[in-house]
């Protein structure tokens, strides 16, 4: 934070809250003064931590993680007023011994922001070197001797085997986040670390100013706990009530979409998908391979997709990813390719070349009958009986095969191993057999061609095959001297079967690429879904920001479609702006007359939305503006009515302007490379109308990479904080706003000159203030929902950390179900 390159300083913007700016802090929470810090400062000698911070100092010496010695487990210097309560809780749950009972040698650790920060900083040091396009690889070894290459945050955290309690909380939060979204572990850690750092600086400064206070130690601690509780509550309220609103109202106008939605059908735009995937793989696979892998994935996705909507394909590929890809070790990565058809991870037991009409049948049991099934007895009374039964078995197997052949079945897929006899008769009948298939593979086949396995009847020789399906071809496929069965299935769903063969010189690399691909499918699956924001509109809160009121207005006008311009104006006057008068009315009319002038002007109006940035009269016009479009858009039928109303001239003149803005599909030129980004620049109108229908982030919303989301949110949070009057909200939004910058700072760290972070940041602020469209200097897109999820997960994690005041070390074997849970979490 204090490095000379700290952009915050350069810009005169101070990260974290400044006591000078926030004189109210002490009044906000009674116990905000933080005397316990001193005590803890003694308890946690900083020298221990210096060792671990060797990471950031590029020290080559190995660092043992987690830094267990870093956080002393013994003797916090307070008499533990909390212990009985905690003890009681523990007893309730499982009646275990809690070490905290014996006071001096207590194993309880007080949780403080400082300790959490120390832990998070260690993690950040590791993670930050793998983040972004300049990130590097990490080699993990397993106890079995295998090596794995990874840049995946979740995997790294898992490989570290952290056993510090706070680290474990963090890792658990990260893995539950990953379970949900499959992305953003590194961002999570960095963001969390910056939040903690921000909190730390707040408290440190408070401590300095109130150091003379003389309260008893445990009281301080109590107050301290209260303070954290308040902060965490404020964070939670912020996340649930304010964040969604900001996302919806301000950020949404910057969203781009991967769908080219010229028609009602959403069509996936290939070039924006390429940009999205490239940016995704940039942070996930080695520097040289991300282009290749993203191209491969893009090709694969489009080859597998028949309809315009890829959702079904994504779900299938995500669910059955393991079955759909074949790893080939020993070849260079560039030999990876897409294979038409389905490759089973098994060789043929019998392969009989066949052409023409090939049908396939699936079986889940052994075809050859046996002497006795389980829990039955077969009594042999004579040698002849034995011989006849053996002959019967052979005949029966033979007849089943003959029957299959008569049904034109040339390929038999089996989940179980078929005995030699079956194999022999299959060969005689010219039926190819693939057995020992995994049930996942069979269920994938069933899903693709909707075929159910046939059941062998017990008694009669005549069996009925309920279901067979046609295949285009079936042939052996040899990949690096290993043989596979290769089937050309004819799909009955929207998924056109294709497989990826991933090559690489070592297993670890192939695994990395597999995981990255799988993650990408997860990410797309998430992206293609609408995401509902649960934001509560504070309709009547006059103290609140102005924006919600206006929205309310708009809504009203929306619900009453027949109202003319005057009525809109009236309702607008009622609630929204207080000092509206005649002058304003003329202003409003002026605005309308302006519309007719040119659509260029119109465009300049669109992004101009920030309240404080504009002179009041322009604010008015702007708002009126937004009152009108939704109505116009939604009630095209009522358009006639509008014309009939008094203000005929106005609505007439207004209409062409609206039309233009509505069909305002801009082609934004991204980056100096001249790559054209044919995504629709969401014009204001559509954004707003969507926010009326349901406040949600629509499917396919993306933003340019390189910290655009963070900088945007940072900017809007700050401007929100300026308007806001509630202290907690101001503090929290400033805290989050400054922490958000941590990610772009790391991303632009290796860049120099005009691409360094301060420059980028300044430019971004300037464009936002002057209401120009944001232009990113990097090609590539990222999912908005993904980013949003990271943000909320981190805030939840932080509240979790802040609400815990004491960690107790329990020397006891964990209960079985608890154990499984934690194991599950670690393996994510």
């Amino acid at each position: 934070m204090k490095s000379p390159r700290d952009p915050g300083k350069l810009l005169g913007f101070r990260p974290g809250a400044d006591p000078g700016e926030l004189p109210f802090l002490s009044s906000w929470v009674p116990g905000l003064s933080n005397p316990t810090r001193e005590v803890q400062g003694q308890a946690f000698p900083p020298s221990e931590f210096v060792k671990s911070s060797g990471f950031s100092n590029r020290e080559a010496a190995p660092v043992r993680l987690p830094v267990h010695s870093l956080l002393p487990v013994s003797s916090p210097p307070f008499p533990l007023p909390v212990a009985p309560a905690a003890l009681g809780q523990c007893r309730c749950s499982d009646g275990c011994q809690v070490e905290a009972v014996s006071p001096p040698s207590s194993m309880a650790v007080a949780v403080s922001v400082k300790t959490a920060l120390q832990v998070a900083e260690v993690l950040e040091a590791i993670v930050s070197r793998c983040v972004g396009p300049e990130g590097r690889q990490v080699l993990c070894t397993k106890p079995t001797g295998e090596v794995l290459l990874s840049r995946d945050g979740g995997r790294l955290l898992q490989a570290l085997h952290l056993d510090h309690p706070i680290a474990r909380i963090i890792v658990a939060c990260v893995s539950s986040h990953l379970k949900k979204t499959g992305d953003g572990a590194k961002t999570f850690i960095i963001f969390l670390c910056h939040l903690l750092r921000g909190l730390h600086t707040i408290t440190e400064k408070e401590k300095d100013s109130l150091i003379s206070e003389n309260i008893q130690t445990f009281e301080r601690r109590w107050k301290n706990c209260c303070q954290w509780k308040f902060i965490s509550q404020a964070l939670l309220t912020f996340q649930t009530q304010i964040l969604d609103g900001i996302m919806d109202q301000y950020l949404s106008r910057h969203f781009l979409s991967v769908f080219s939605s010229s028609t009602k059908e959403r069509t996936l735009c290939r070039s924006s998908l390429v940009l999205l995937l490239e940016a995704y793989f940039c942070g996930r696979v080695g520097r040289n391979n991300h282009k290749f892998i993203s191209q491969l994935m893009c090709d694969y996705f489009f080859k597998c997709m028949t309809s315009e909507n890829g959702m079904e394909v994504l779900e299938l590929v995500d669910d059955c990813f393991v079955e759909l890809n074949v790893s080939v070790i020993g070849l260079p990565v560039s030999d990876s390719k897409i294979i038409d058809g389905l490759v089973l991870h098994r060789d043929f037991s019998v392969y009989c070349p066949a052409d023409g009409d090939i049908r396939v049948a699936v079986v889940r049991e052994i075809i050859q009958p046996v002497f006795s099934t389980s829990r039955s007895e077969f009594v042999l009374n004579s040698e002849a009986q034995f011989q006849t039964s053996q002959i019967w078995i052979m005949e029966r197997t033979k007849s089943i095969m003959k029957y299959l052949l008569s049904q034109n079945v040339k390929l038999l897929l089996s989940t179980v191993k078929q005995p030699d006899l079956v194999i022999y008769y299959a060969r005689l009948s010219g039926i190819s057999v693939v057995d020992c298939l995994s049930s996942e593979e069979v269920s994938l086949i069933q899903r693709i061609i909707s075929l159910s396995p046939f059941v062998l009847p017990q008694a009669s020789l005549q069996c009925e095959i309920s279901d067979t399906a046609l295949v285009k071809f079936c042939k052996p496929l040899i990949l690096r001297s290993k043989r596979y069965a290769h089937l050309g299935l004819i799909s009955t769903c929207t998924f056109v079967p294709h497989c990826i063969s991933l090559c690489g010189p070592v297993q670890g690399l192939v695994e990395q690429h597999e995981n990255a691909l799988h993650g990408a499918f997860k990410m797309l699956r998430q992206l293609f879904k609408d995401f509902d924001l649960n934001y509560v509109k504070k309709a009547n809160d006059q103290n609140d920001a102005l924006r919600p009121c206006i929205y309310k207005n708009n809504r009203k006008s929306n619900q009453v479609p027949k109202i003319g311009n005057h009525s809109i104006h009236r309702s607008y006057q009622d609630t929204g702006i207080k000092n509206s008068d005649k002058l304003e009315k003329t202003q409003y009319l002026k605005a309308h007359s302006n519309l007719v002038v040119s659509d260029v002007e119109l465009e300049t109006y669109i992004p101009c939305l920030t309240l404080k940035m504009m002179p009041p009269d322009r604010v008015q016009t702007d708002e009126i503006w937004r009152c009108l479009p939704p109505e116009n858009k939604r009630i095209t039928d009522d358009y006639e009515l509008l014309i009939e109303s008094n203000s005929t001239r106005n609505s007439l003149t207004e209409n062409p302007g609206i039309e233009i803005s509505y069909e305002n599909f801009q082609v934004t030129n991204i980056a100096g490379k001249g790559s054209m980004l044919p995504v629709k620049y969401k014009s204001l109108d559509t954004c707003i109308s969507q926010s009326f229908c349901s406040s949600s982030i629509p499917a396919g919303c993306v933003l340019p990479v390189g910290g655009t989301f963070e900088i945007l949110l940072h900017y809007y949070l700050l401007s929100y904080a300026e308007r806001c009057q509630q202290l907690e909200e101001i503090v929290v939004s400033k805290l989050i706003a400054s922490a958000l910058l941590g990610i772009p700072k790391i991303l632009y760290k290796p860049k120099k000159g005009s691409h360094s972070f301060p420059q980028i940041y300044l430019r971004a602020l300037h464009t936002l203030q002057t209401s120009q469209p944001m232009i990113s200097c990097q090609a590539g897109l990222e999912s908005v929902t993904g980013k949003y999820h990271v943000l909320t997960s981190v805030l939840q994690c932080l509240t979790k950390i802040l609400t815990i005041d004491l960690i107790m070390n329990i020397k006891r074997q964990p209960l079985k179900n608890c154990d499984q849970d934690s194991e599950d979490e670690l393996q994510h």
């Binding site: 990471f55 590029r58 080559a60 660092v63 043992r64 993680l65 987690p66 070197r129 793998c130 300049e134 990130g135 590097r136 690889q137 990490v138 080699l139 993990c140 070894t141 397993k142 106890p143 090596v147 290459l149 490989a159 570290l160 085997h161 056993d163 080695g286 520097r287 040289n288 020993g330 070849l331 260079p332 560039s334 046996v370 002497f371 006795s372 099934t373 829990r375 039955s376 007895e377 077969f378 009594v379 042999l380 040698e383 011989q387 002959i391 052979m394 033979k398 005995p419 030699d420 022999y424 060969r427 005689l428 001297s481 010189p505 297993q507 670890g508 690399l509 074997q813 964990p814 154990d819």
Partner: protein, 574 residues
Amino acid sequence: MMSCLEAHKPSLCHSEPLTTEKVRAKLTVLKGVLTSCYGPFGRLKQLHNGMGGSVCTTSQSTVLLRNLSVTHPILKILTTAVQNHVSCFSDCGLFTAILCCNLIENVQKTELTAATTIKLNKHLLNFCISYLRSEICGCRIPVDFTSTQILLCLVRSILTSKPACMLTRKEVDHISALILRAFLHTIPENTGEPIILGKCIIVPLKGQRVTDSTVLPGVLIEMSVQLMRMLPARKSSALKVALFATSLSGDFSDPGEGSVVVSYGVSLENAVLDQLINIGRQLVSDRVDLVLCQKVIHPSLKQFLSNHHILAIDRVGVTLMEPLSKVTGAQPIGSLGPVSPSSYGNAKNWCSAKFGCKHFFHLIPNEATVCSLLLCNRNDTAWDELKLTCQTALHVLQLTIKDPWVLLGGGCTETHLAAYIRHMTHKEPGSILQDDGCTQAELQLIAEAFCSALESLAGSLEHDGGEILTDMKHGHFWSVQAGPPSAVNWPDLLSRCGCGVYSSQEELTWSFLRSTHHPFVPHTRLPQEALEITQQSAHSLTVDCLTAKLSGLKVAVETANLILDLAYVIEDKN
């Protein structure tokens, strides 16, 4: 579940692993071991396990890396990459490993950021590959399948580069001719699409002279002397063959999950034996001459068959089943029921043969793509090495059929490539740099590192303290014995370049490879005359398989990039 209850030990995390002295030292040691093995004059390594097992002498990367226990994760990445490459292509293992080590070492000296070096390495690799694949390439020879010349050179180059086979020059000629013959046997005569190559079975015969090795069409099955004597008289006409995959020993297989109750007095053995004899009767009536069984044949059935002058051979083993089925055209029979007539196959004849102290049953096919290479060598370890070499050669020949080009060997490709890259980075850096934000100076640095990695790879062919020169016209590799006098007439001292294409009498100028010299334009496009002259002459060329070498190059650069990109190593200490 016990493992879950044990506390996990925290992992150990090293940052910037390549910068530590320990890792560098380990890399140097590995490189030293591998370099000393490289080439026809490479030093042999004797591997012996203190815990027991046989001692083996080798210079091949396959054996060496399989037996070395590498502990450091970075070295593990390197060695597994090389092993995986070898398992795909059989050849160029040491080439890949040494090049990778050299690259890591040289690139680290440049002290550029990992991002830049990796990007540039990749560009250089792409540049090399497109050059080696292009028409103007000056170190690539097309394979002419109408003559055996180049193929023989290829096999001979592989054999000479494995000194642990302990072959004399005459023996090398003999074995390379055998390998080529065996390979030609496996190519089917009627070439439909796709061509399915047959199989060459290597039959061990240790303790014999190498020149006793031979190639026979068909399959050799080893038999004991007693069995040999019991063989019936040979028939002149074609043989009818039955091939059994199921056991004919009369065992009762798979009664199912429930239980089978056998009443008193009922003998299942008799019942099964009846079935076996029934099969025997059918075989007799079907006029089968030879019965081959993968598993065991019941002695009674054997007796029955031999009474009817049917030759029965059991315990053939699963590995021979596929070749036997291919040779005879018989389908392996999997049931004790009536044999369908379509399962039978046929063979031209059989004979018994004695090689060394071993007796073999030799099945002579009518026309098939299966042959047996009877391979002899003096002792076990030399035989193992020779067998591996033969497999490599056969595999390389297969690869060459797919991609009919060979590269010049003997270090010439490496030095030529280095000269060409140097020249191009000075003349047309834009052709390598693809507007990627790298400067020309950075390119110069990395290209120098890349070229010197290639050159020192070529240099490691020399093990006897000799000097290495390169000519300023073609950029080929020349080596000269140690301690040349200061003022010498180079053409007299040198005879031929590493690959043997050029002789020293062609008005060339030389310079020491390790010395700094100005980049020159190496002649691209191999002159046709040069090839024709050498092909006629008795002197043979040294050539390498293009496919294997290209893939080796790719894997080496990719692996080096991978290792250079590592920011951390996290070691799980559990």
